[in-house]
């Protein structure tokens, strides 16, 4: 199976090389979308045997994933995995997602940080993710344990049933996570959650938290209008 790993990266110069090298030990097709980084992210990985793509300006994680996914489809991908560039996602979890997808029980497999596997997730993050879960359940009527998970795998085969046209999101920022869930529900796609463990270190803890009140308000407004 032709598996492509899509990794959007923004200012990840310190760790991107390590992350990509690790991915290359198991997967031969890795697409890195440098989303207008201001550091040396591009230089760090340009020599690696990957598909490298660069946004001239920073558009957001969603845009990076969209560009990478469309490229992967153009290159004949059958399975596409979205992963983070900061090394939070473990290689064995990515493999678990692919195996689950290959079973054929779901159109999309999503990694969940809240399915039994313990991690060193900061409390602040736990609270915000709980609120995000509540938000998705209340307003979008979607039951999912980790609505903000960045690790997901889906079929993109041009021959078989491809999930991509049905989950092709429009948001360029972190709202794409919620939009994908909304599209899964709208198009009645089957999704399965797989337990994953995320490595949290100082760098990832200091990053801006994904769900913001402004984003939630805009999502709600969009839902009302659409």
């Amino acid at each position: 199976m032709n598996i492509f790993i899509v990794v959007p990266a923004y200012n990840e110069g310190q760790r991107i090389k390590k992350v990509v090298e690790l991915l290359l030990t198991k997967f031969s097709n890795v697409i890195v979308v440098n989303d207008g980084s201001k550091d040396n992210t591009g230089e760090e990985i340009k020599s690696l045997p990957i598909y490298y793509c660069e946004h001239a300006v920073n558009l957001g994680q969603g845009a990076g994933l969209k560009t990478g996914t469309e490229l992967a489809i153009g290159l004949g991908a059958e399975v596409i995995v979205h992963a983070d560039a900061d090394g939070q996602h473990r290689l064995e979890d990515i493999e678990k997602l692919v195996i689950e997808l290959e079973k054929g029980n779901a159109d999309i497999v999503i990694g969940s940080r809240f399915l039994g596997v313990k991690s060193n997730m900061p409390k602040r993050k736990k609270i915000i993710l709980f609120l995000a879960k509540l938000f998705v359940r209340l307003f979008f009527r979607i039951k999912i344990t980790d609505p903000q998970s960045g690790l997901r795998a889906f079929r993109a085969s041009p021959v078989g049933a491809s999930a991509w046209p049905k989950i092709k999101f429009t948001y360029d920022d972190f709202r794409h996570c919620t939009e994908i869930l909304f599209l899964i529900k709208k198009n009645r796609l089957k999704f399965v959650e797989v337990p994953i463990k995320v490595n949290y270190d100082e760098h990832s803890c200091n990053k801006k938290l994904r769900p913001k009140i402004k984003m939630a308000a805009e999502l709600l407004l969009d839902k009302l209008i659409k």
Binding site: Y52, C53, E54, H55, L59, D172
Partner: protein
């Protein structure tokens, strides 16, 4: 004539001169020019004869002419903010599409060069 009236007239005059310059350089179309010209002449007329404004206010049920100006200004400003917001959103999406498209094309080219497809095509 009061000082404020004088200031407003002067301002309107400057705006109309600028409008004419914009029309000459074709930065704005004739209908847009006429629309703004009418607006600013109207503003000057109201400033000159404040009675017009008071009569208008009476007609629509607002106490004072000045209040009518404030209400109308607020409405117009809110509408303009909405228009700007929509346009910004549209432009943001367009920029995103352009940036993504350039990135994909560049990557495609690099992949084709690596595979030597480009050289083969050049030979043909």
């Amino acid at each position: 004539m009061s000082i404020i009236q004088l200031i407003i007239f002067l301002f309107v005059l400057i705006v109309i001169v600028k409008l004419i310059k914009r029309l000459r350089t074709r930065d704005i179309s004739l209908p847009i020019f006429l629309l703004w010209l009418l607006f600013w002449i109207g503003a000057a007329a109201i400033t000159w004869k404040t009675v017009i404004l008071d009569r208008l206010a009476d007609l629509v049920g607002v106490g004072r002419g000045a209040d009518l100006v404030i209400y109308c200004s607020l409405l117009v400003l809110f509408y303009l903010i909405f228009r700007i917001f929509v346009r910004l959103d549209k432009q943001e999406k367009q920029i995103s599409e352009i940036v993504r498209s350039i990135a994909k094309n560049n990557c495609d080219l690099a992949v084709r060069e690596q595979r030597g497809e480009r050289r083969n095509e050049d030979k043909k």
